[in-house]
Structures are given as structure tokens and as C-alpha cells.
């Protein structure tokens, strides 16, 4: 056995695979444990030998960036073994049993900006921020995940693709085909997530790329040349109709002035005028009352509570490894999770109490 094979075998022995939890285009995801500590991890087994161009670009991107980024608000990568997280922000938003306090939203958005600021400080654009890529650890810590579309910021004058970011979170410059862009694209996504946290429903749910522009302009008003100089010169610019500007206040009736100001600065049409992640961290919203909720006080889904209980049981020596896993997080596209979290709606807390329930479905 040569050195690399041996090192690899040693590394493999550090982890045990418990069960398969999902499968994406380029990887199969298992839930497993670190042998030495029992710490729960997600193991991504990259598929090799089925793509005609070798290792998949998304896999390469994800691995490349996660190897470099170590931060409390970025998912931790231990050599294709990722920390296992119980839930994500999308599930939390959709869980109708949970009530969000303004302080909770503030805490989530603060953690999102903190993780994003770290990426941007490392010259990395995430390019796929959305609630289900913001994972939540059992202690409540929010972590940026899924770096399959991430890339280094290009030098001025180098084109990047505009086919990035899930449509509802995609900024208008990308919809207009801009090939030169920067950190502003991620900030727009955070703005959409911020709005979604307050509304508990996606803020700009366009049905097609064209409809996305219309939906955006309907909500925020059609940009003028003064709002956004030069936007009519973008490659795919098309006029999509004139919509008046309605103050954010009309839709976000309960939000504080600071919150609306930050939201408005994230959803600014002119990308260069959008707030940066760094500036956002010092925005008065975060220092005004109410202060962001403590991690332990953040709303938790039933699956998180179940996971936390299990951790407790393990501490007490009552390890039940065959117990149903927490809600699954698989590689994108992850319709599985959509299905599961969809099922949760309207099922309310009963799910937590009625353990026979899973057996009755399909």
C-alpha cells in the first residue's frame, strides 16, 4: 500500500457510517460518527467515475472553499466529512408551531451576516444563499452551507456566469444578465431571507426568470435611471412594466425602523450602493433593542428538540443509534426536504407526541 492509500485508510477509520440520509448529483450523504468522540457528522461520499469530465465542478468548488473557511458561522468541513446539523432555516420558517420574536430574527440575520462577512473577507462569493442553505446546529448556531456554486471574486474585467443563486433570492442585475458583479449579489439574497423571516413566506416568489423581475419590481417599484444608473444597458435588459414604489412599511407593518432601513439597504437596486456585509454588522439594527436572542433561546423545530434529547440520552449512556434521524439534509437539489418540511405544515406539534405517525404514511 503506498503512502496516500495508507493515509486514506487511516482517515477512513476515524469515521463510522451509520446510515444513508440523502443523495445529490455529485455525492451520497451519510450520517455517521467520529469514532473517537461519537460526534455526529455528515459524510459526503463523492461520486467518481460517472461524469465524463471527471470530478464534478460543484464538488470541487464546495470542497475547495470549505477546506479554507473556518468560522463559527460557516459549516465545518473535516475532509469531506461535514458537521451534522439538525435543521435549516427553511424548516424553521415553515414550522407553523414556532413563533418568531423580532430578537430571534435579529440573531439569525446577525449570524448570516457574520458568516457572509467572513466569506467575503476571504474573497469568496457564496452565490446560493437561501433559507435551506442556512443550517442550524443543535445549539442554535446558524451556519452557511452548500458552497457548490461559490467562487473567488473575479478580477475586474473577468466575466462570471449570471446563472447562479436560486431564483427567488436572485438579484435583478443577474436577472438582467450582468456578467460582472460582486458581493452585492449575496447581500440581495440576505435581504430576501430577512424579509422572509419577517413574513414567514418567500418575499419574491417569481415563477420564471421573467416573472422574477416583475415580482421584484412589483414589490420594490421599477428602478429608474437615477436609482440604478446604467441598468438598461445590461445584456439581457428588458422593460417589464412600470410599478410604483410602495414603502416597505406597508408590507412589513411590525418591523422596526432600523430593521426596515437595513432591509432597504440590502434590497437596493444599484449593486454598488447595497450595504456590505461588514457595514451591515455595525448597522444600528443590531445594537438597538431588543438585542439578538441568545442561541439557547432561539425557536427550535421538533427535530432539533428530538436531536437535543438524544444527545442527552447518549450522555446518560442510553444510546439508541437506530432511532429515526433528524430531518435530512442532502445535497441539492433537495426536493426531499421540501417534501418533508411541507408535510410538517399543519401537522403541528402532534408530530412530536404521536410516535406512531410515521408508520401511517406511504
Amino acid at each position: 500500500m503506498d503512502a496516500v492509500e495508507k493515509a486514506n485508510a487511516d482517515r477512513q477509520r476515524r469515521w463510522t457510517k451509520d446510515r444513508k440520509v440523502g443523495e445529490g448529483t455529485y455525492a451520497v450523504v451519510y450520517q455517521g460518527r467520529e469514532a473517537a468522540t461519537g460526534r455526529k457528522v455528515a459524510i459526503k461520499k463523492i461520486k467518481v467515475g460517472q461524469f465524463k469530465d471527471g470530478l464534478d465542478m460543484s464538488a470541487i468548488r464546495e470542497v475547495k472553499y470549505l477546506r479554507e473557511l473556518h468560522h463559527q458561522n460557516v459549516i465545518e468541513n473535516l475532509n469531506l466529512v461535514l458537521e451534522f446539523l439538525d435543521t435549516d432555516l427553511e424548516m424553521i420558517i415553515k414550522d407553523r408551531t414556532l413563533v418568531f420574536l423580532p430578537a430571534d430574527i435579529k440573531a439569525w440575520i446577525a449570524m448570516t451576516f457574520r458568516g457572509l462577512e467572513f466569506c467575503h473577507r476571504n474573497f469568496i462569493l457564496h452565490r446560493d444563499l437561501k433559507p435551506n442553505n442556512l443550517l442550524i446546529a443543535s445549539d442554535g448556531q446558524l451556519k452557511l452551507a452548500d458552497f457548490g456554486l461559490a467562487r473567488d471574486m473575479a478580477d475586474p474585467g473577468y466575466k462570471m456566469t449570471c446563472q447562479v443563486i436560486t431564483r427567488w433570492y436572485r438579484p435583478p442585475e443577474l436577472l438582467f444578465g450582468a456578467r460582472y458583479y460582486s458581493t452585492g449579489v449575496d447581500i440581495w439574497s440576505v435581504g430576501c431571507i430577512f424579509a422572509e423571516l419577517m413574513l414567514r413566506t418567500p418575499y419574491l416568489p417569481g415563477e420564471s426568470d421573467m416573472d422574477q423581475l416583475k415580482t421584484t419590481f412589483r414589490a420594490l417599484g421599477t428602478p429608474t435611471e437615477e436609482d440604478w444608473p446604467g441598468h438598461t444597458k445590461l445584456p439581457d435588459y428588458v422593460p417589464v412594466g412600470q410599478f410604483p414604489k410602495t414603502p416597505l412599511r406597508e408590507l412589513f407593518t411590525a418591523a422596526s425602523g432600523d430593521a426596515l432601513n437595513l432591509l432597504q439597504r440590502c434590497l437596493t437596486y444599484e449593486p454598488r450602493k447595497r450595504i456590505s456585509a461588514r457595514e451591515a454588522l455595525t448597522h444600528p439594527y443590531f445594537t438597538a433593542l431588543p438585542y439578538p436572542s441568545h442561541l439557547s433561546k432561539l425557536p427550535k423545530t421538533a427535530s432539533q428538540i428530538a436531536a437535543a434529547t438524544r444527545v442527552q440520552e447518549e450522555v446518560e449512556g442510553n444510546v439508541d443509534q437506530s432511532a429515526p434521524g433528524p430531518a435530512v439534509r442532502a445535497a441539492p437539489p433537495n426536493r426531499l426536504k421540501r417534501k418533508m418540511s411541507g408535510d410538517e405544515i399543519g401537522r403541528s406539534v402532534a408530530r412530536k407526541l404521536d410516535f406512531s405517525q410515521p408508520a401511517t404514511q406511504g
Partner: protein, 353 residues
């Protein structure tokens, strides 16, 4: 935004295990943490890799036909380096041919050099490793081209020459694909120089930058990037082009201590930056044909034996697993495992999505 050149000289890493946002970005990189060595460490690594490979290959030869290894002249660690160096120059040629940007070239060279800190040329010949490293670099730096277009433009190369090694190369790099480049640091230096009070004329600056960039390219032939930070090497290259200008830059940044460090880098570039002579390398390559690991030569007796053994091992593993599964099925309460089976089923449904 302009990427600033890191402050010189760099301080040793603080192994507090904590991710601190205060330390320079570079010190959080895998390059800083896992791919920087002293010259002595590099030497020790290569010598022990070489010795290990010689012992293993000798063993394989003897197992096949006793006494057959006695008159084989195995490569020394130094000879291995020369061969790798030659293939570094091939990367440059190929990049010129494909018109790949400098980032691709520099990345591929780093991959090739890092690969041979984990493997020896007697196991894996640098020709295909070089082709694979370059192809991987096009993907990791966001300049992907199709494998078809890649291999059809390189004589006597099939897609499998690249694909077969891709995972091995990625794994040898520990999937640490991000490289901090010297030419980027030099670009930062050049931007800084234009900001000096009383800057030199534009022509002079341009000339100095062009010369320094040539030195950067030469430095890729050496171990410099495995020992020093990109900004240290960039400053050394600048100093080779115009020592006075480099010193002025250092003074403007209160980093005069760096000027001492760069002297040894300058020596390294001047001493080791030469392309090995074709005759010497050809002779090494001729001997390599006789001493390369037969287990890695497709079709050889040893290769087939190894493959058979691997398959046997895999079969045993599968049998063991099937056995365990069956046992688990027989022993478990049919009513007790419903929940986990359910979760499993859901997880598997997702495969078709």
C-alpha cells in the same frame, strides 16, 4: 477592492485551534497550515518517500523472481526532483498551447509539486500526473474545458490517462485546491509601488514588473512556494528586478526585516530555477522504465496480482457486510425498526429526484 499584500515577515502560526478573525486571512489558508515546510523537512520527506518506494518495489521484484532487483539502479530523491522539474516546464508549454491564464498554470505547477511530496515518480510517472494536475487546475480555478477538448489537443493522450489519476491526485492534495499565488502578490506589490511618494516613471515600473514576473515564473521551478509565503517570494522577485525599488517598498511598509529573508529566496531562485538538461532527464527516464513499480504498470504480472488481491479484499468486505445485514435482519424485532426503515426509504426515494 485591491488585495493587500500580507504584512512581512509572517509570524509563525498560533496553534490555538481557534478560528480567530484577527489573524491575517492567509494564515487561515490550507497553504499556510499544511503546505509550508523548511528546506530540511522537504529533504527528509522526499528521502523517506524515495527509500520507502525503493524498498517496496524491490520487494515486489523479488517476489516475482528472486534476485531480479540486485542490478536495478533505483532513482534517488534528487533524480526524482529533476524529472518533476522537467514536467513543470511541460505545464508551461501546454498552457501556452491552450492559452490558459497564468492562474491555471501556477495552480497546476503547485499541484504537481505537492503531489510528489506524497508520492514518488517510481509509482506514478509525472507525465500523466502532470496532465491530470493541469486538467484539475482548470476546474479548480474556474476555467473548465471538456475532457474531450483537452485530451484531443494533446498528442498520444486518451481521456483515461487523465481520469484514472484524477481522484488520486485530488486525494494526494488532501482536496486542498486553493493556492495562494506569487504572481498575485506581485500584482499587489506593483499596485503599492505606484502609490509610493515620488514613484518611478511608468515605463520603469512596467519594466521592473515585467522582469519581476519572469523571476516569479522561474521561482515556480524551485521549492520557494513550499517554504516561503507568496508575498515574500514576490518581494524577492521584485528585488531581483530592482533591489532599490523593493527596499523602498519595504521601508514604506515598515517591513525592512523582510529584506533579510528575501536574500535566501533570491539565492534559491538563481540557483534552482534552471531547466534540467534534456540529456540528464532522458537518462533518468530511461532508468525509471526499469525501476518503476510493476504493481502500477497496467497489464504486468504484479499489477494483475495486486488487482486480484484488491478484489479479493473487496469481496470479503462485501460478504462481511451482507452477513452483518442478514444477522441484523434475523435478530431484530420486526416491529422495532420501523422508524429507521422508514427514514431509510425516504432517503432512498430522493435518489430519483
Amino acid at each position: 477592492m485591491i488585495m493587500a499584500v500580507e504584512t512581512l515577515p509572517s509570524t509563525p502560526p498560533q496553534s490555538d485551534g481557534q478560528s480567530s478573525s484577527k489573524k491575517p486571512i492567509y494564515e487561515g489558508s490550507t497553504q499556510f497550515r499544511n503546505w509550508r515546510f523548511s528546506a530540511a523537512q522537504l529533504h527528509a520527506t522526499r528521502t523517506s518517500l524515495n527509500a520507502g518506494a525503493v524498498a517496496a518495489i524491490r520487494h515486489t521484484f523479488e517476489a516475482n523472481s528472486p534476485g531480479s532487483s540486485s542490478d536495478i539502479q533505483f532513482l534517488t530523491a534528487e533524480e526524482e526532483i529533476l524529472l518533476v522539474k522537467l514536467y513543470v516546464t511541460k505545464i508551461t508549454q501546454l498552457c501556452g498551447h491552450f492559452r490558459f491564464p497564468e492562474e491555471v498554470e501556477a495552480t497546476a505547477v503547485s499541484y504537481l509539486k505537492r503531489f510528489y511530496l506524497k508520492n514518488t515518480v517510481m509509482d506514478w510517472h509525472p507525465k500523466n500526473v502532470m496532465l491530470t494536475a493541469l486538467f484539475l487546475a482548470t476546474k479548480t480555478t474556474n476555467h473548465p474545458i471538456s475532457l474531450e477538448a483537452y485530451t484531443s489537443n494533446i498528442p498520444r493522450t486518451a481521456p483515461s490517462d487523465v481520469l484514472d489519476l484524477e481522484f488520486l491526485v485530488a486525494q494526494s492534495l488532501a482536496f486542498e485546491f486553493a493556492i495562494w499565488h506569487v504572481h498575485r502578490a506581485l500584482w499587489g506589490l506593483w499596485l503599492d509601488l505606484q502609490d509610493l511618494p515620488d514613484p518611478p516613471s511608468t515605463e520603469k515600473l512596467q519594466q521592473c514588473y515585467d522582469t519581476a514576473l519572469q523571476h516569479v515564473r522561474t521561482s515556480r521551478m524551485t521549492d520557494a512556494d513550499l517554504i516561503y509565503t507568496p508575498s515574500q517570494i514576490a518581494l524577492a522577485c521584485m528585488s531581483l528586478a530592482d533591489a532599490d525599488l523593493a527596499a523602498r517598498w519595504a521601508r514604506s511598509k515598515d517591513a525592512e526585516a523582510a529584506l533579510d529573508i528575501i536574500e535566501s529566496i533570491k539565492d534559491l531562485i538563481k540557483g534552482d530555477g534552471t531547466v534540467p538538461s534534456v540529456e540528464v532527464v532522458r537518462e533518468i527516464d530511461r532508468r525509471l522504465r526499469l525501476c518503476k513499480n510493476p504493481e502500477k504498470v497496467v497489464g504486468s504480472k504484479a499489477y494483475l496480482a495486486k488487482k486480484e488481491q484488491d478484489e479479493k479484499d473487496a469481496e470479503m468486505k462485501r460478504a462481511k457486510k451482507a452477513d452483518l445485514t442478514r444477522k441484523a435482519m434475523e435478530e431484530s424485532d420486526p416491529f422495532g425498526t420501523e422508524l429507521s426503515t422508514e427514514a431509510q426509504n425516504i432517503a432512498e426515494l430522493d435518489e430519483d429526484d
